[in-house]
């Protein structure tokens, strides 16, 4: 009969064979952040999403599109949850193309998609080398490379924040000068191409996007109009907030998804316990 200990032995053997290899792996170190939406009971922080939206709108959206985001999403439960009136007013600030409208365009409605950058792809490509990526699902299209055996634990901690950890690290990973001792893939001293910026996290280090944030650049305001503390107005904080916001854009139903999961798991555990007793009781009188 297959014994549990044998399985462990086989597993250990496989792990042992893999270990020396894994030690050789490495990449740019990315500091994992604490996110309110991580883990089993994770939920978005509504205030953070609202701040993140402000950063996105004032900074990112001038060059990046987010075609899967609609104005109406901003009032959905589990998101930034702006009020219906706020979203209506916000949408009305934008103009969208509509062939049915008398002028060929009209003011946006909550049902409209986020209108894009207002610049043509050709202009953007000319300015940055290529068209800046759409941000709709970017938070799930990036990851952090964990060395073995660390990634094994991710299945147990449900680590799904690799995208936002990467994004945050990237947004604050700029250096004005190429750090001394940096080498390229051939081992030669690193030369930054013209028109590119040095970023320690970006693969190949040469990124087309200029450093997006400086301290104090986005003026957060409290709902009552009072000042927010200065430590909230930092590039690091903007990076965190906009990353969290983009996570929500990529995964808008995370809150309800996770709470449904908790109910499903509770049910399954109870059901499994009951089935165990049913099975035990049935088999009690059978020698097997």
């Amino acid at each position: 009969m297959i014994k549990i200990s044998t399985i462990f032995a086989a597993g250990l053997l496989a792990v042992g064979l893999a270990l020396p290899v894994a030690a050789a792996e490495q990449g740019a170190h990315i500091e994992k952040q604490h996110w309110s939406f991580a883990g089993l009971f994770g939920k978005y922080d509504q205030n953070q999403l609202q701040r993140g939206f402000q950063v996105f709108r004032e900074v990112c959206a001038s060059c990046h599109s987010a075609r899967l985001l609609s104005f109406r999403n901003l009032e959905q439960p589990g998101g930034p949850e702006f009020s219906e009136a706020q979203v209506k007013a916000l949408a009305a600030e934008y103009t969208v193309v509509d062939p049915e409208a008398p002028e060929g365009s009209r003011k946006a409605l909550p049902s409209d998609a986020w209108p894009g950058t207002g610049q043509s792809d050709a202009d953007l490509a000319a300015a940055f080398g290529l068209v800046p990526p759409d941000l709709s699902v970017i938070a799930k299209a990036r990851k952090v490379n964990d060395a073995f055996p660390n990634w094994v634990f991710n299945y147990f901690t449900t680590y799904s924040e690799g995208g936002v950890d990467y994004m945050h690290a990237l947004l604050v990973g700029y250096e004005e000068e190429v750090p001394a001792g940096t080498v390229d893939s051939q081992g030669q001293p690193y030369v930054l191409p013209d028109g590119k910026f040095f970023n320690e996290v970006f693969p190949g280090h040469a990124i087309g996007m200029p450093p997006p944030f400086s301290d104090g650049q986005v003026a957060y305001a409290n709902a009552d109009g009072s000042d927010v503390p200065a430590e909230m107005l930092t590039a690091d904080q903007y990076s965190k907030d906009v990353s969290a916001f983009l996570m929500w854009v990529a995964e808008p139903h995370l809150n309800e998804h996770k709470s449904a999961g908790f109910r499903v798991l509770t049910f399954l555990l109870l059901f499994a316990a009951l089935m165990w007793f049913v099975k035990q009781r049935l088999w009690r009188k059978v020698e097997h």
């Binding site: 990851k143 449904a260 798991l265 089935m275 088999w283 097997h288």
Partner: protein
Amino acid sequence: MSAHESNYNPTNPVEKWLDERLPLVRFAKATIIDFPTPKNLNYWWTGGAILTFMLAVQIVTGIILAMHYTPHISMAFDSVEHIRRDVNGGRMIQATHAVGASMFFLAVYLHIFRGLYFGSYKAPREILWILGVIIFVLMMGTAFFGYVLPWGQMSFWAAQVITNIFAAIPIVGEPILHLLRGGFAVDNPTLNRFFSLHYLLPFIIAAVVGLHIWALHVPGNNNPIGVEVKSNRDTVPFHPFYTMKDLFAIVVFCIPFAWFVFFAPDILGHPDNYIEANPLVTPPHIVPEWYFLPFYAILRAIDFNFILDSKLLGVIAFGGSIVILFFLPWLDTHKVRSGTFRPTFKWFYWVFVANFVLLTWYGAQAADMKIIGGLTVADTSKLSVAYYFGYFLIILPLLSRFEKPKPLPNSISESVLKHAPATN
């Protein structure tokens, strides 16, 4: 269809009337209620029920997804996002289907390795085993076609790489490649036909599963000691004993399933698949889903010419690694079925399991990654490929001739009584 008689005695006139015309109830009673099943089956024998459940889950969620999905290269990616965002319960259904594929393969691997250890492929169950291998091949096809549908970067490049494999076959390779792609490149016709096939294959799987179960019911279940059923003291009726045990196993299996679906739905996938397919940008590492990695590692390990071109050799090794399973009943002809009573076999078997896990790991690494000293993945994975084939072609035939087994119990009942607690 079963070898065993049904003890169905209709008393009600309607049941009698039906039974004389279409003995459906008689058939159901014989197959899922009375079916005499060895009483010593362990939890490895719950795989069949779990797999049937998973097939049903995939078909039901898949049919719903197909209602909202658009198989067109300019809309496929966004339509999957539309399902996640705007369809009621869509995120859950989509996640169940995607994670479900992984769980399905996890279960099928456990089921296959159960069969390998307990000699479930040996006479009189060769057809049962072969039908199982056919199901496995069909599953691989279905999973591959399905993975292409969201039209992300990995979808596109997987389609590119996998269809290209066929181009290595002499003479017919090129026409097969064009037939699969519906043109010279992976494009809209490819996506359309993959969608069509992805919808078709699960029903063919269901049909072969029907045959698989039929072929199971003729000789009956193998069991952990591999000694055939001798009398009805060795068996219990399938219902309620195994229906309830299987149901318990299914519920337990659903716990990690739900864990991934609800808390980490993308952890088993690749982030690059959240980037829409772009024929002009090749991802830095093209990796298949985890369940294809061992076979991908075998394909990739053959990077040398030997009489034939390395590309063709790789395809032969890749295909051979699965085709060889069809011949297993005639490669391992040892009289004893269960690995429990084969002391030498046991060792080779567990090395085979570890080797398979290692191949999975190799499949995920870059081929030029250093392992030990100057040896790369490409070098060391050749050893694993050699062991994979050596196990079937050399070790099992030799063991069949020379291995001396431990004494077998006379019957299932005898073996059970020996293990029973003293209080009985």
